[in-house]
Symmetry: C3
């Protein structure tokens, strides 16, 4: 028996964070047909980003991976709030990892593993997405990492 | 009676700009199945970007919001040209807002509202998308903002 | 008779590169329904990017176009490996071109033609996508260009 994603989260001892609240005219999640688009997620603690600044200058790769993992968990929380359960997620289709980077930093793909390692640990191979990782100039509220997730839903 | 998007544009006194012409080997809009992908939009005036440069250095947040709103209107114009009418747009699924940013700027989500406020004012809740906003290093022709829109169509 | 994409590649004398191997927890290609998402492609030669660095400082526009074309070919190779043949690609829906850029560079759309000229030469009008091009701060392994492709499949 393959555990459900919800059961797998419990096995891993992971509690989803509260669902994100939009900071503008957008929806945390849009569901249409058998797809769901999750808005870009950054991790805040009391209104301030976890590990603010540029990666490889203000923020280490390990800290950026922690932020990427937290953003992926927020995306799951947003999906659970919209769909009723993470168990309705059938396939993680695409993950984009935007890393606030100095021009000399070239490990955005390593940062991205913080998000996608989590998704694979929860969904198995159905959590292994097509992925794009890049270094951006800056992110909202000076967050170090933003993660965008698109999934197929039952 | 909910007004159609076309009627709502008229109510708001908004005339769509001319549809954008591609500046390379791409299509302004690709329609496939019940989806339409619009190419990234920047706002030009006589071949030069409206408010060129980096936001928070050369361009104010208010100017960047104006550029984001204009780019969203161009996306609607491109869709109207391809579909025959904005009334065939059923749902705005995803909006990406790319803001040319200095590394210290962290209000890309506020700039993004320039695009998505317009979409919500025209389409109501069907115009409230999943959204991603980020600060990029530079944009084509040194535009301050580029907006990418994906919609579901009837 | 319109040649198939495979026949067209042969006519053009183009041999696809080896399919890319993922450098993290992601899939080169995810197929779901009639869509395929290809992960972001950068071109490596012996583990090092072709033409590393920032475009318009370390890398010329022509070199960046060559990297964009190579990334598009890798995307086709990844699709061929997953689908069995490029002939199952029905439509190139979206291409995103991420160009590592100094803040004064504004020719990302010209770089992008390196990718989409190739796609149009192989698929004709079915290869003319919606496109977004932008300048990013940095890319994995200091690659100059990353290309992301989404297609409809038979």
């Amino acid at each position: 028996m393959v555990p459900t994603p919800g059961a797998r989260l419990a096995e891993l001892g992971i509690e989803l964070p509260p669902p994100p609240r939009p900071a503008g005219t957008y929806s945390p999640v849009v569901v249409h047909g058998d797809r769901a688009w999750v808005s870009g997620q950054i991790v805040l603690r009391g209104g301030t980003p976890l590990h603010p600044g540029l990666v490889d200058r203000d923020v280490s790769v390990a800290q950026a991976q922690e932020a990427a993992r937290g953003a992926a968990l927020q995306a799951l929380s947003a999906l659970a709030a919209e769909l009723g359960s993470v168990d309705r997620i059938r396939r993680v289709l695409r993950v984009a990892v935007y890393v606030a980077s100095v021009p000399t930093f070239g490990q955005q793909h390593v940062v991205g593993n913080g998000a996608t390692d989590l998704l694979v640990s929860v969904f198995g191979e159905a959590g292994r997405p097509a992925r794009v990782a890049m270094g951006v100039a800056a992110l909202p509220l000076n967050a170090p990492v933003e993660v965008e997730v698109t999934v197929a839903v039952a």
